[in-house]
Amino acid sequence: MTLLRNLEKLPNMIKIKNFFNLRNSNNVIKFTDRIFVIIFLVLLVIPVFKINMSDKSMDENRYLAKFPLLYNEERKFNSRIGSDFNDWLSDRFFLRYELIKLNRLYSCVPNINYCLWNKDVFDKKNNVLGTYRFFGLTDFDKKKKYDIKKPAENIQKLNDWCKQNNIKLYILIVPRQSDFIIYNIPNRLYKTSEDIGEKIVKYAKEHTDANIIYPYEEMKEANKTTPVFFKTDHHWTQTGAYVGYKALVQEIKKDFPDINIVDISEYNKSTNKMVKIYYKSPFNYGSMLRNSGLPNWYQKRIMDTNYIYYSTPKFDNLNILNKSDLPDFNENFDCIYKYDKGANKKVLLIGNSYTGNLMEFLPFSFKEVLSLSDNYRKLYFNKYEKLVQSYKPDIMIINIHTVNMVIFNNLYKKVKGEE
């Protein structure tokens, strides 16, 4: 009570009437209410206590919003300054990731079998994550009409161009992860109708003379014993990549019999529960698990599958030229692989992130492989024409995912600034 009396004598800084007045039959209750209000006020300032000043978020794979300027580059008043400020603060406030993980936890833990967030799914029983993009339908709105003829026409056009330039074209298409992994989610929970990408593949195979390799059955067979896709990442495992590689090179061998298919038994095997999609990248929890927002300790719990990783001493004999070695080569340049013991053929490979695990095997079949890494959402061949003509490969491989087949719609789209 003495303390309370002393508190009342403090200078009347706080202009809240009766804030210090506890003289009442319920003074203990009033005291607890004051503690409550003080804690609330403290909670209000904690998130701005420390601002994340990094440019990038590795958890989200993107740049964080920048602090807004009052005037834009054209010296015009930035009318969006309020919402830009909100974006900036929303990306950077203190304890942001901890709160995100907390939300994921309490919205996920009560569920018995599945957690659905945005359009991703977490199969709790089997510790599998999936993202709608790789399930097929929802990336292709039911109401939208997708043209399956145009991609095939463009593939044919590309094939004809390759023939004119004495290049053999092969298109390696990676099937949907959901056909291999999320088989335990009941029908009509997440999978929907046939993937439009598959429709394009089918149509293109029937109506073009391009070499289209779609190793669906081979991967299904291999999946019976070893996972061909990661459970927490949308990429194929090295096993899956090997199956794809083998199907691809078998097709190439029909035209180039001297090409060898590397024997998997020559590789050293190891296992790891973590995900690796490229020899250059470190082991991690997987893209979908990283994106899930689940706490790290929970992510660890989910990693329950041993994936096979292959390594070969032959890798030391590979001469690899990276971007740093040829900085001005091409904006999409990834690597040039040179292998003396490979078949005397030059290969130009245009791929995306699925090419990563493929490169454990592909470079050992050829003398030289030039790997270009393009955007998974668009492929404009116009920007590669000159490079291909100057490089003069014997073989050109395009490696994409079935979900990306629609990019062939715009294969010959004229892009600003490019010839």
């Binding site: 800084m13 706080i14 202009k15 809240i16 009437k17 009766n18 804030f19 319920n26 209750i29 607890t32 209410d33 004051r34 503690i35 409550f36 804690i39 609330f40 006020l41 909670l43 209000l44 300032v45 998130p47 701005v48 958890d59 989200e60 794979n61 993107r62 740049y63 009318s79 300054i81 309020g82 400020f85 603060l89 929303s90 406030f93 942001r96 995100i100 907390l102 939300n103 994921r104 309490y106 009560p110 569920n111 018995i112 079998n113 599945y114 957690c115 659905l116 993202t131 009941p186 029908n187 009509r188 929970l189 997440y190 949308h234 893209s287 979908m288 990283r290 994106n291 927002g293 992130s353």
Partner: protein, 469 residues
């Protein structure tokens, strides 16, 4: 700016609280006015001019009405038309033009119009003041900044409650920040935030998934799931926002009227409208229904007045036929209940089974109404409702998703919470009569605040599968 944004909760609010808690009472009005203008300008700087124009028109109009009482009616009409013209242009212009064009008399091009947020609310607040001055229920406010404070006070600016000037006039001049109000205000704010972020947003996702699909691909029970999900989403979103507004008002010394009084326990649509969006229904009652004659005239005039009020209610909610039909739907049942003398029914049929039947009737009516309200088109609404009542045939092969796609344990927990919180079970939870109850409630509220903040944080999470560097 939204109440459920990081900027509002962790920047705007603490700064404003510090300014008001540490300065003398005489500065509070100007602080709140500037804060309210900043609050509105934060998201839409150019549309502040519209709000300020409405304030200025109301100020000048009422001064003229007060000065030239013999011309007060034409001045009133001019002021109302001037104020409403903004609302009509921004909210209804394209709707009117689209419907006019469909008559194929001649064609008018649509204009790309962005509706300023909250325009329906602050326009009605301004009209409330103008009409109160006209009816001489309040003295004209000669102080422009006090009038501006009334119209654009940020707690109720964008989503109500619609405060009538005569309810708040005294508070502008004489109020004080009192700890008891701050305490209750903070608690109301947290309750409102939790309603919105935890219950409304969760059930909203369920409703969105269902309403995103064609009705003929939904199993019948799923349509009911969608209807009830939306029913709860709307209530908890709207009442949550009202709770936050009322809580914030209390923190700064204002006592606003309650906007919701457990509408989903109603046993008639008449009762429903005494409990739902009370500020809007009383606004229409005071400024439209009663001036038209209310129920003082013949039965026919009462029906006409009720019909007109509910037509306007539908129109107020949005520029689409679904909102208008929703208004007419409720109006029709209000009229029917009037004709069958609902007061007598309330007094006569009070056995448990009768109460349950009346309650089920009311639930059916407002739920179907919400389906109309939610639907993109009337055609969708008709098909959806037909599906609910097993009239629309659904081929098993057309059904895309099972129930597991829509709900799991977490959504069920939210559903149960929604049902419980729709009833006045926790009505007196903030009375703090016992120490044990007080401590438990305080801890629970702080936990809810953290959980709500985590939900807000989740909304900011935007990962990419591939690097966007």
């Amino acid at each position: 700016m939204l109440f459920s944004s990081i900027t509002f909760i962790f920047v705007f609010l603490p700064i404003l609280l510090a300014l008001c808690f540490l300065t003398k009472q005489k500065y509070h009005n100007i602080i709140l006015l500037l804060a309210s203008i900043l609050f509105y300008a934060f998201g839409e700087p150019k549309y502040v001019l519209i709000m300020l124009s409405i304030i200025l028109i109301s100020y000048i109009g009422t001064l003229l009405i007060d000065k030239f009482r013999s011309f007060k009616k034409p001045l009133l009409i001019l002021t109302i038309i001037s104020n409403l013209s903004f609302l009509i242009y921004f909210k209804y212009f394209n709707f009117i033009v689209e419907n006019f064009n469909s008559l194929n008399i001649f064609h008018i091009d649509l204009i790309k119009i962005v509706m300023p947020i909250g325009i329906s609310f602050y326009t009605f607040q301004a009209l409330s003041y103008v009409l109160d001055v006209y009816k001489e229920e309040v003295k004209v406010q000669k102080n422009l900044y006090k009038l501006a404070l009334y119209i654009c006070l940020f707690p109720q600016l964008v989503a109500g409650p619609i405060i009538k000037y005569h309810d708040i006039a005294d508070q502008i001049d004489s109020r004080e920040i009192d700890f008891d109000k701050v305490n209750i205000g903070v608690k109301r704010f947290i309750i409102g935030l939790s309603k919105k972020m935890l219950i409304a947003n969760t059930l909203g996702l369920v409703a969105d998934k269902i309403f995103a699909q064609s009705p003929d691909t939904l199993p019948h029970l799923i349509t009911w799931l969608g209807a009830f999900s939306y029913t709860f989403q709307l209530y908890f979103d709207f009442s949550g926002y009202s709770d936050m507004a009322i809580g914030l008002g209390l923190i700064f010394g204002f006592k606003f009227m309650e906007n919701f009084n457990y509408p989903y326990i109603s046993k008639s649509i008449t009762e429903f409208w005494r409990r739902w969006h009370i500020s809007l229904s009383t606004w229409f009652k005071n400024y439209v229904y009663i001036p038209l004659g209310g129920n003082k005239g013949s039965k026919l005039s009462t029906i006409r007045n009720l019909g007109f009020v509910f037509l306007l209610t539908g129109i107020w909610h949005g520029a689409a036929w679904t909102f208008i039909v929703w208004g007419i739907w409720h109006g029709a049942f209000i009229i029917i209940e009037k004709l069958v003398n609902i007061k007598e029914i309330d007094e006569k049929y009070t056995k448990i089974w009768q109460l349950i039947l009346r309650h089920i009737y009311c639930i059916l009516i407002f739920t179907i109404g919400w389906v109309i309200f939610r639907s993109e088109t009337l055609n969708y609404a008709v098909n959806y409702i037909a599906n609910m009542f097993f009239i629309l045939p659904v081929n098993e092969s057309d059904v895309v998703y099972d129930i597991g796609y829509y709900v799991d344990v977490y959504e069920i927990i939210m559903f149960v919470s929604a049902i419980l919180c729709s009833m006045p079970l926790f009505k007196n939870i903030l009375d703090g009569k016992t120490l044990y109850k007080n401590i438990c409630v305080n801890i629970w509220l702080l936990l809810l605040f953290v959980l709500s903040t985590s939900a807000i944080a989740m909304n900011t999470y935007n990962p990419f599968i591939y690097f966007r560097f």
